[in-house]
């Protein structure tokens, strides 16, 4: 890994609310490396948008609240002119696209270049390059209202990349799109990251989005970063309850108490939830008499991820030995016991 391109040290942002101050961002420390795709996930109101708006200085950090360095600039204390120069090096895409409705696609995409003082000819060349890259070359003379949501976001991405920024901020960039279009747009972001080397900070409240393209992820709750690290680690060994909930809503892999009750009616044997968080997956050879009764598996960063609920049948010592083998293979196991002798395993 290279050196961090964005560093937040103990950064806070407080708004004046109707009923008192609101700490939208609360003592956040993060390092985002140049060239990575960094995810920030959190529920509505967690402070994600405020966090990105601090990075491109659309909001200013609380006075004396810590350090914020972006692309080599100490952001707090920069004057308006320097802030504008910094912003022009950071692309941003939005949930609502925020395109200029009175301007054509080509003019929208070229707008940052116009602000930066590029000549007409240089602008035109760069715009057609970007429209090619984002796959909307045929839409150059269309107006935003004539485009689908996915096409609008492609325009947004082309515009954000126009001035060859080193950082791209994406605030809920796919939240207004259907799943298939979401995937197309995310693929485009991945290409921008790989081919242009742009560092991406991606905000979302959907786990499948970070899971799809973020190498590292921070989880936010009430203004704080409650955990962060490699996306796989964060979600395979969630520490905070919010994180666990994100995994659960994305995967529905763990049976709820009501589900366990239904399972027991059909499967009187020993139930165990096995979390598959290892490159080897779940080796069924370790089990003699087992049935898969519940669960969900997916892939994070190209590694299997999720959990399976098994029913093990046989004597106690046989099933205990089987669980022991799974544990020694590095798998996390929650023993729920049998229908006759249930254990209230933590979910």
């Amino acid at each position: 890994m290279t050196s961090p391109i964005i560093t937040l040290t103990d950064v806070s942002k407080t708004f004046k609310g109707k009923t008192g101050p609101i700490r939208a961002v609360d003592r956040v420390s993060l390092e985002i490396e140049a060239g990575e795709v960094f995810g920030v996930i959190g529920h509505s109101g967690a402070g994600k948008s405020t966090l990105v708006r601090l990075i491109n200085a659309l909001e200013s950090v609380d006075p004396g609240s810590g350090g914020l360095t972006v692309a080599g600039h100490q952001v707090p204390g920069l004057g308006e002119r320097d802030l504008r120069a910094l912003r022009s090096q950071i692309g941003m895409i939005f949930q609502g696209f925020n395109l200029l409705s009175a301007k054509t696609v080509a003019v929208n995409v070229g707008y940052p270049l116009k602000l930066a003082g590029w000549s007409q000819a240089a602008r035109a060349a760069r715009v057609s390059e970007l429209l090619e890259f984002t796959g909307i070359a045929d839409k150059a003379d269309s107006y935003p209202s004539q485009l689908s949501g996915g096409q609008k976001q492609r325009v947004g991405i082309a515009r954000a990349l126009a001035a060859r920024p080193s950082i791209l901020l994406a605030d809920e960039a796919t939240s207004a799109l259907d799943p298939e279009t979401t995937r197309d747009v995310l693929d485009l972001l991945v290409r921008a990251n790989r081919e242009l080397g742009v560092t991406i900070v991606l905000i979302t409240h959907v786990m499948s989005v970070v899971q799809y393209l973020c190498g590292r992820t921070a989880v936010m709750e009430e203004g704080r970063v409650v955990e962060s690290g490699r996306t796989y680690d964060v979600f395979s060994r969630p520490k905070a309850a919010v994180t666990r909930k994100f995994v659960q809503t994305a995967l529905h892999d763990r049976p709820t108490p009501a589900t366990i009750k239904r399972l027991r009616a059909r499967h009187p044997g020993r139930l165990a939830i096995v979390t598959v968080a290892s490159d080897g997956g779940l080796a069924l050879g370790a089990l003699e008499a087992a049935a898969i009764v519940y669960g969900s598996l997916t892939e994070v960063e190209g590694r299997p991820f999720g959990s399976i609920t098994l029913e093990l049948t046989g004597d106690d010592d046989v099933t205990s030995a089987a669980l022991g083998r799974l544990r020694s293979a590095g798998l996390e196991v929650v023993d729920l016991g049998t229908a006759a002798d249930p254990l209230g395993g933590a979910l």
Binding site: N56, R87, I90, M92, S101, L115
Partner: protein
């Protein structure tokens, strides 16, 4: 012409009077729209920009302008003309005639315009402000080069609507001596029981408003790219 003549239109008198009145009306309306519409644009942009959370949020400036506009707007124009007599004399040397009518008309027009401009901008997508600022545009650039073009359709419709209002002002000014078509309709039509003169003036008002609204609609449709 013959139909009109049979009903009381005397070309020897009325043709000339109508021409002069039309000239005076045009003068009043255009000057007012130009100066008042311009001042109102500046005032409206300032109101929009200084409001809470605005690009140049400034409570004192906003409150001051807001009170100013809200104080002048409710005054019936016919009273307002008399109330600012002194100002008209100071600015133009007279408070009668077309010249004297211009200052009160300009003030009233700029107050109305400011609200129309403010409303048009408030209705614009705040996302474009965010996008503009994120691209590194200055605040003044966002206001004048991004927001105004984005709001052109409602602005044009607003100004078309304003034309009708200014026409109304010119008639009221005419009633107390500023001349123009309003004066013509009242003095040569209504007061002399000459309905033809009255209706000729009415027809001209209707035609003028139709034309302006039609052009406004066409332009707005061109600008509205939704």
């Amino acid at each position: 012409m013959s139909v009109l003549q049979a009903n009381g239109w005397d070309p020897a008198i009325h043709n000339g009077k109508l021409l002069l009145a039309a000239q005076q009306s045009l003068q009043m309306v255009l000057l007012t729209l130009l100066i008042g519409g311009g001042l109102g644009l500046v005032l409206g942009l300032t109101l929009f920009a200084t409001r809470k959370g605005g690009l140049y949020a400034n409570r004192a400036v906003f409150a001051g302008l807001n009170i100013l506009v809200n104080t002048i707007r409710p005054i019936p124009f016919i009273i307002f003309i008399m109330a600012v007599k002194g100002l008209a004399v100071a600015l133009t040397g007279t408070f009668i005639g077309v010249k004297g009518a211009i200052p009160p008309m300009v003030i009233a027009c700029s107050m109305a315009t400011s609200r129309i401009v403010e409303q048009s901008l408030v209705a614009a997508d705040p996302g474009v402000i965010e996008a503009g600022r994120a691209m590194g545009a200055s605040r003044i650039h966002v206001l004048l080069r991004i927001l105004v073009p984005e709001s052109l359709a409602p602005l044009v419709l607003g100004y078309a609507y304003l034309f009708i209002g200014v026409l109304d002002l010119s008639v009221m000014a005419g009633a107390i001596g500023a001349g123009g078509l309003g004066n013509f309709a009242i003095v040569d039509g209504f007061n002399r029981y000459n309905d033809v003169v009255l209706w000729v003036a009415v027809a001209i008002f209707i035609a003028a408003v139709q034309v302006v609204q039609l052009v406004g609609n066409l332009l707005a449709r061109r600008f509205l790219r939704r």
